[in-house]
């Protein structure tokens, strides 16, 4: 019905083009926030220097490790299903979900800590940016987890195989993007000095 090229291993061209186009929109969405960050970082360097020290670098680093590892488990899952190894995919998805949940749990701890110190989005421009950037990122983690949960349900039903793994591949790309955003967020917010 369509004029697709013959399938390579992995998702068809249309699905890949679709997810890359979607990631382009996400890049511009986060790009807006990063632009606000850049503007105010230049105008208020001292504010940023002083306020960023109030962030918990240990928890931030731990979160970075969790998220990076979750990208790894996702990639392993994709490699597995391309070879038809369904059980490996299910394990990989479960691990990815656990690691993501861990990430969110730590984020919750961090935010609670900040609130208990009287640091809120309206406290100053740095913390406004911090909460908005990590909040938007966290929202994307939640959405990713929901999709991965659905993938796990489908995997349990045996819906994926070496011939058909498009949803997993597409979600994998999305997840790597979410990870990439964090890799920029983390140093810019936590390590800026």
């Amino acid at each position: 019905m369509t004029s697709d090229h013959p399938k390579h291993e992995g998702a068809p061209v249309s699905a890949r083009l679709g997810i890359w186009a979607f990631l382009a929109t996400e890049l511009l969405l986060f790009g807006g926030l990063f632009t606000v960050y850049a503007v105010y970082r230049v105008v208020y360097p001292d504010l940023f220097q002083q306020e960023h020290l109030k962030l918990n670098r240990l928890l931030g680093t731990l979160n970075t490790i969790l998220l990076l590892t979750s990208s790894l488990t996702m990639a392993v899952g994709i490699a597995a299903i391309r070879q038809g190894r369904q059980q490996a995919l299910k394990i990989a998805l479960t691990l990815t979900l656990l690691l993501s949940a861990g990430f969110l749990g730590i984020k919750y701890l961090e935010w609670s800590e900040d609130f208990s110190h009287g640091l809120y989005p309206e406290s100053n421009l740095f913390f406004g940016l911090y909460f908005m950037m990590t909040g938007l990122h966290g929202l994307h983690v939640v959405l990713g987890m929901l999709v991965m949960g659905w993938l796990l349900v489908c995997a349990r039903q045996g819906r994926f195989s070496a011939q058909y793994s498009t949803p997993v591949e597409v979600t994998g790309l999305y997840w790597h993007f979410v990870d990439l955003v964090w890799i920029y967020l983390f140093p810019l917010l936590y390590l800026v000095g």
Partner: protein
Amino acid sequence: MPDPSAFSGAEAALSSGDVDAVFIFILAICGFFFILTQGLLIYFALRYRRKKGEPPAATPYITGNAVLEGVWIVVPSLLLIAIFGYGFAVFVKLRTPLPGAAEVQVTASQFVWNFQYPDGRRSVNELRLPVGKPVKLIMTSTDVIHGLFIPDYRQKMDLLPGRYTYLWLLPKRTGTFDIYCSEYCGTGHSVMRATLIVMPQAEYQAWVQGERQKKPGMQSIAEKGKALFESSGCPGCHSIDGTPKVGPTLKGIFGRTVQLTDGRTITADEEYLRESLEDPNEYVVKGFQPIMPTFKATLKDDDLAAVIAYMKTLQ
């Protein structure tokens, strides 16, 4: 040009005639292209039309013409660059500071215009100026964005809270002119209007004297600024005679090029001075410590303007 019914030939203010000239230049070019394109459009549509029901006539298989396409890329491009250039040149004129300009503070609020003259006089919704003397409007808002628009002068500039914007004017004709708010600011936007009255110089001086007599003991803005400068404790850290103290000297500060600790070089204009009072650690001068306290809470807009006006006198 802009008001076709009021084209009198003599410009109301410096450069307004130049703006009209740009207008006419663009209009001429537009007129040429309008006649050419619309003319051909209508001519071809009628000349080559067929009646309803008539079978189509044979048409030539023309898909392009490199020369023609080249011409209508190059020629318009050159004309567009010319329009840009002319518009740019006159824009620079509109924004060029006029030496020796008297400074009038303009503060916009929802929905009223406040003017304050150098000698401290204030007026609401009315600006009086002597003809032939340059004026610098130092403008800010107390709440939302407004816009000052003087149609007869072809001048317009937005007013923002938290910073200064400027207009330089040189009235060339006496008379009464409209001032409108040009940036939507809320319910009263369309009634936020003022009047500009330009008077012959002698009449203007007489009017000023008359106003001063009504308010004896009125301080000029700079005098008020001096009083605030002293009562706020500024002399403790800043000298006005050139000697460095804990903070840099303020002698000759206005317009001076300043080197900052982060390596940037900046000109000390009104905006710089305002920022230094509200957020001192944003611009720290090289060789000095970031220890200046903020005066954001204690010095309101009028006070800030007064202190800045005083600092301009420290030559």
